[in-house]
Amino acid sequence: MRTHITVQQKLVGVLTIFFLIFMGGCELVDPSDVENPQITADNLFANPNGGTTSLVTGMRRYFSAMIGISSFIGDLVSDNLDNRTSFYANELSFPRTIKPTTFTYGDVYDNAQRLNALGLFGVNTIIPNDALATNEQRAEVYFYRGMGLLILAEFFTNFPILEKGPLVTAADALNEALTQFNTALSLTNLNPMRVNCRLARARAYRLLGDKTNAAAEANAALALPGGTNHVFSAQFDPANLTATTYAAMVGRTSNDIQPNPRLDFLDPKFTTNATAIPVLKSEEAHLILAEIALSNNDLAGAKASMRNAVTLARSRTTGTFNDRDSRTGRPNDPAMTVRADSASTPVAGLIQRRGGTSIVTTYPISYTYLTTTMIDALVTKAEHIHTLFLLRQHIFFLEGRRMTDLGIRLPVTQRQIDGNPNVVAGGPGTTVVVPSYIPPTDEMRHFSVSGLVVTIKWDMNKVIAANISSVSPLGITP
């Protein structure tokens, strides 16, 4: 069989071939071109100017993400919260069972590391190439990086702070954090940032057991304009970043997570998914000064500082909230009284009515039911210690500080063990630290109800007072 093609057909064919090959050679019909619409590394480094502005927002975002989870986990792994049945790992209620593979706490570690890493990346690669970077922006980057290191040191014992880097101790990280805060201080001209840095340094020095510097920084914070009623909070964005704490505590639908009945009067602290979470506030300066005074056996000084803390905490703004959570199966009657343990006297007014149209008062910054009169009535040193830690429990409620106060430290995550050869399973930093004075299993959360009296199994502030020399980093003797 042969094929016949006319001259015209050939001509049309040849012309079409030439036309299409011409098109094929140009971009018009190029099917192979792909473009990643994300910011690739090449794009980022090609456009350095103004980069610090988005870097600072990035630091703020990572900081809020870190606080959004650490404020919750720090309370969950303590007597403050009772994890009834939630998506959060049950092991967190049984601190001795926490392992690097335990779910849901790892975000604290990852977010703090991410904040530190972005700060370092920004300082090394963005800021030096950005002609538009200001000192205030630089100060903020250093400050947030310091906060990342501070949270790491409060929650963990040993960890790397550089990619594939060696393990450092919490003390090393605190010293690195102090350096960051110092650099921020030297760059800023704004008083609120100065107070932040001073309060953060006081907090770091307290953990390092450096009474002199802790006192100096606390006093310096209070002495700055605005230092006596300062609050610095992590901000949230309802559309783009909300706090885990809010989701767990207010968004609860099935009695998932509930406060210790002793703290019911403080709940809920954050009532929307955009409520800011306090991180650094003047109350802490007073509480540190009180603790230092106690370590110097200066009961009067401690009393004065605790009075200041109480006065400030009770003067903070309040709000109202219609709490629809019916607290099913939980104390929910204002007529109930709560005993901190079986030997304590019942305290009235701690339980609020929830559900229906009941409106409760909220304390988004600080509050305590303790009054200056009660502080004045303290006699023994043990009473002072007990009350100081009760105050810390009230004032820092849902700010993620209680776990650290109890002396518990979490292990680094399995991801960290897998991702860095310097971190060895079973080695430093990879096991949970739970002091022997912490009650067994999840007993910190146990309570019983008899009639209208709620009795908490363990008054953890009493436990703290009895073991204060191990608890307080400042070396208080009982």
Partner: protein, 963 residues
């Protein structure tokens, strides 16, 4: 665009040139026309009972000339050059007929065929994955097909449902009963821990979307929609399925999960024939898993179904066409028509035989599907998940009607517009040289819309209501060329050499808008929301490949198959070059040997042994190779954040398969047995490997793992009775999958789905997606007596495979007096475990319901006095139950009304069918274990089942008619 990408894209202009040149060559030749003196061949193709076989192919052997039989089984082949030829008549399900004829100039030869049915179908021609159309007897691999007859008998909506229970080794499991959710498809196990096991799908040679709904779509708590849903099971002629390995090698880096190719109808020559169908019926939701009587009575309804189809087919030996239009509606099984499902489909297929040497096939279809969806599974706003698992309707003092109405307020739905078009040019300049050029496009636009009115916001935690809309625009363009050369026969050795090139481009663009907090009731668009935000996600990829294959036939009974595909892809890392996928196979029709004794042949009529080895791949998701940064929105500013860590060495996962088996026919092929053993090892499996958290980076896909699947597939087909008035056909299949993560390559085990209390894990030595749960520990509680008891401690245990490891299916078809056909399809799956999320939710919610509290206590071991009681999380192993299920999937009765009863109507068939007729053998409590909880867009392997709208029982009554 970054430099390396540019560089890369400039490396391939030669490819564009090659495609276009090939295209033009064909176009020019196709215009040509033979001008010789010829004769014609006509005749009729019937079965052994004289029934006409409609759509049988009649070919002049050794040429590209051929025809298709019309509705009366008649065919005509014109312009046959004078000479002696062999004429071959082929029809699926029948042995081919061959007759020799001599054609004279201007003469007409009549050649009639009476074809004999077979269960083995060795003469069926397979195209997919073969490079060139190849008879099944020559194939070294198991390639499956679904014939037009099976398609006509199946009472289904989409291709996914059509595949259920019909293909051994292909799992097609119902996700649930929500419109749009279709099925989960998987061939021969899970080959990747981070990509969907869904096979790639081609329609007439054109790659089409096979993904679940978009990355930015709003979830409903489970049951996301699938693009397979709108591949309408309408005008399909046949479907071919390759299950990875050597049978899919020619598809290269996309085919590890196999390839499903759909061929659409191109018409039957003859005078125009109008045909149509009217079907009506209803859907019933099974109520046995529903807890409260109130829900049973109030929440569900009978879904009313109606469908109308009108089509026409006709033409002559030069042009044939098939066009049809279809509309259907199902009001759905949830009250207020919340699951209303409307479908519009227009399809057309055209075959033009432009000359003796060339033909063009064109197909186009447009589908519009609009359907309602509801919150499901894990959504708090789902009535089935919340009120039902709380048992709230049964509690005293509950205002049931008011509560019920609140849950009906959200208005959710999806709308899909899809256009698939293909053009295939065939040109055979010489009998030994065949060319095929394919070009086509799949364009799919979907809109996912969640509207919660102002007054409906509070109960799902969003005061003021909201509107979320996510639009996805998916476009893929395919260009392919295949040329095959029949080499001269030397000493009874034949060779067909195939070369080809294929390229496709995917543009997947998504945009999402969120409007929150309405101020005025009744408003339904973004303009009326207080805050409006928008998001975008765009992906592009380009893939190209070249293939070469040699099919060698020795003495017409031993066949060797050697081939290789070279692949490049824009998703590969910058340091990764062209990837090579080779294959090798052998098929040996041993029963054709002289030493196969005649007396055995009488019983054991045919035997083919086959073995093959081949590689295929799974390419990475677009852009996952790049290091990226985010510019996340935060407090109205743009925040620099870390993105993907990047991996310049990212390459496709490579699956190496061996496939051995046999196809045996007995008693003149009235019985047949097909057996395959397969082993598929996926190396360079992409795992999510952790970066050092101290670097602030998350996870990166790295090619470190290894996953192994092996198993067997057995199919038995039989036509035990084939008499004048009674014919019985039977098919039974059994398949196994043994899936194991054989190496993690140093990466840490990781979670791919599930919950903190029962995550689905990737762990070495265990199946992908195995469930890890906490099992209450039985321990000695009294050392004195040795008494055992529970102290509230738990141990982590791994349970099950999340997907069935054993599947069985059986279908039977009984035809009485030629006109009455009863058919049925039975399916079953076992050997796997599912997390029962209905019970899980009940355990959590039991605290507020004293009735359910007892229920929970009964499930969880009681602890010793003083010990901490177990809760859902610490005793999560009690929630993991065997996933066994058996279903009578379909029963259909068809009656062909005798023509003598029909006045002026050419044909009429009455159909009554029931789908999802009955289920049994289910061990899990209060769930349908076939369904799946949250199909997610990255990987979905089943394993979690929750409270959901279940696949309904569907009753259909229809009339097929031909005018």
């Amino acid at each position: 665009m970054n430099q390396s990408l540019k560089r890369w894209s400039h490396d391939v202009p030669f490819l564009r040139g090659a495609f276009l040149a090939a295209f033009l060559l064909l176009a020019v030749f196709a215009m040509s026309k033979a001008q010789e003196s010829t004769g014609e061949i006509r005749g009729k193709v019937v079965d052994t009972r004289g029934e006409p076989l409609v759509g049988a192919n009649v070919l002049v052997s050794g040429t590209a000339i051929g025809s298709t039989t019309n509705i009366d089984g008649e065919y005509v082949i014109r312009r046959v050059p004078a000479g002696q030829f062999s004429i071959v008549a082929r029809f699926v399900g029948y042995k081919s007929g061959v007759k020799d004829v001599t054609v004279q100039v201007g003469g007409t030869v009549t050649v009639d065929f009476a074809l004999q049915s077979t269960t083995l179908q060795m003469d069926e021609v397979i195209v997919t994955g073969q490079g060139v159309a190849t008879e099944r007897r020559r194939l070294p691999t198991a390639v499956e097909s679904i014939t037009s007859k099976e398609i006509d008998l199946a009472p289904v909506k989409d291709v996914g449902q059509l595949l259920q229970g019909r293909i051994p080794g292909l799992q097609a499991l119902s996700n649930g009963g929500m419109p749009g959710s279709s099925v989960r498809l998987m061939t021969r196990g899970v080959k990747s821990a981070l990509s969907q096991p869904t096979p790639v799908i081609y329609v007439d040679g054109v790659r089409v979307d096979n993904n679940y709904q978009g990355r930015l779509s709003s979830g409903t708590g489970g049951q996301i929609s699938s693009s397979i849903n709108d591949l309408v099971a309408g005008e399909i002629d046949r479907i071919e399925i390759t299950k990875g390995g050597a049978s899919s090698t020619l598809f290269g880096a996309e085919a590890a999960n196999g390839v499903i190719q759909i061929f659409t109808k191109k018409g039957i020559p003859g005078a125009i024939r109008w045909n149509g169908n009217i079907t009506t019926g209803y859907d019933d939701h099974p109520l046995d898993n529903i807890y409260s009587d109130y829900t049973k009575q109030k929440f569900f309804q009978k879904g009313i179904f109606q469908s109308y189809r009108l089509g026409a087919t006709g033409g002559n030996e030069a042009i044939s066409y098939n066009v049809s239009g279809k509309i259907s509606q199902n009001t759905g099984t949830v009250v207020r028509d919340k699951l209303d499902d409307k479908l519009y489909n227009l399809s057309s297929g055209l075959r033009v035989v432009s000359s003796d040497l060339s033909s063009i096939e064109v197909s186009a279809s447009y589908t519009r599907n609009q359907y309602g969806i509801i919150f499901n599974d894990n959504a708090i706003a789902s009535l089935l998940n919340s009120l039902e698992t709380e048992g709230r309707f049964d509690l005293p003092g509950v205002n049931r009607d008011s509560l019920f109405e609140q849950f009906l307020l959200p208005d959710l739905g999806e709308q899909v517009n899809r256009f698939i078009s293909s053009a295939n040019f065939n040109y055979t300049p010489f009998p030994w040289w065949d060319n095929k050029f394919t070009i086509g496009v799949d364009y799919r636009k979907s809109e996912n819309r969640h509207y919660v009115p102002l007054e409906g916001g509070t109960f799902i935690g969003t005061v003021g209501g909201y509107l979320f809309r996510a639009d996805r625009e998916y476009k893929t363009i395919t260009l392919a060329y295949t040329g095959s050369f029949k080499l001269p026969e030397v000493m009874d050795i034949t060779q067909v050499l195939t070369v080809g090139a294929q390229g496709f481009r995917v543009d997947d663009r998504e945009v999402r808008g969120e409007g929150r907090t309405f101020r005025i009731p009744g408003t339904k668009d973004f303009d009326n929301a207080s805050t409006i935000s928008a998001f975008e996600s765009n992906q592009e990829l380009f893939s190209y490949g070249f293939l070469i294959q040699d099919q060698v036939g020795i003495w017409d009974r031993l066949f060797l198959d050697l081939g290789v595909r070279f692949d490049g892809n824009s998703t590969f890392g910058k340091d990764v070059g062209i990837q090579v996928f080779p294959k090798f196979g052998v098929a040996y029709n041993i029963s054709q040997e002289a030493f196969w004794p005649e007396f055995i042949k009488e019983y054991w009529s045919s035997m083919k042994l086959r073995a093959s080895w081949g590689q295929t791949g799974t390419f990475p998701p677009p852009f996952s190779r790049d290091r990226t940064f985010g510019a996340s929105q935060f407090l109205n500013e743009s925040a620099l954040t870390f993105g993907n860590p990047g991996n310049s060495e990212l390459k496709p996962e490579k699956t190496t398969s061996i496939d051995v088996g046999f196809d045996a026919g007995f008693l003149d092929e009235k019985f047949s047995l097909e057996f395959s053993y397969y082993k598929q090892v996926t190396r360079d499996a992409m795992f999510s490997v952790t970066e050092d958290p101290a670097a602030g980076l998350g996870f990166q896909r790295r090619n470190v793992g290894e996953i192994t699947n092996d198993g067997i597939e057995i199919t038995l087909r039989a036509t035990p009775i084939d008499m004048e008035d009674v014919q019985v056909n039977f098919r039974g299949s059994f398949a196994t999958i043994n899936n194991v993560v054989s190496s993690l390559g140093g990466a840490a085990p990781f979670t791919i789905a599930g919950f903190a209390f029962a995550p689905q894990r990737v762990e070495v030595g265990k199946p992908v997606g195995i469930i890890r749960a906490n099992k209450p520990r039985l321990e000695v509680v009294d050392p004195a007596t040795g008494r055992m008891g529970y102290r509230g401690n738990s141990d982590e245990v791994f349970i099950g495979s999340p997907f069935p490891t054993r599947t069985i299916s059986a279908s039977a078809e009984v035809t009485l007096f030629r006109d009455l056909t009863l058919s049925g399809l039975l399916e079953g799956a076992w050997g796997h475990y599912v997390l029962n999320q209905t019970i899980s939710r009940r355990m959590v919610n039991a605290l507020s319901n004293p009735n359910l509290y007892q229920y929970v206590l009964a499930r969880i071991p009681q602890v010793e006095p003083g010990s901490t009681p177990y809760n859902r999380n610490t005793a999560s192993a009690v929630l993991v139950e065997p996933g066994d299920w058996f279903k009578l999937r379909e029963i259909a009765l068809r009656y062909r009304v005798p023509r003598t009863w029909l006045f002026g109507v050419n044909g009429m068939t009455l159909v009554a069918s029931v789908r999802n007729v009955a289920r049994f053998g289910i061990k899990a409590e209060d769930i349908d274990p076939e369904t799946s909880f949250i199909p997610n867009t990255t990987i979905e392997v089943g394993g979690i089942v929750g409270a959901t709208v279940e696949p309904p029982r569907q009753y259909r009554f229809g009339i097929d008619f031909t005018l």
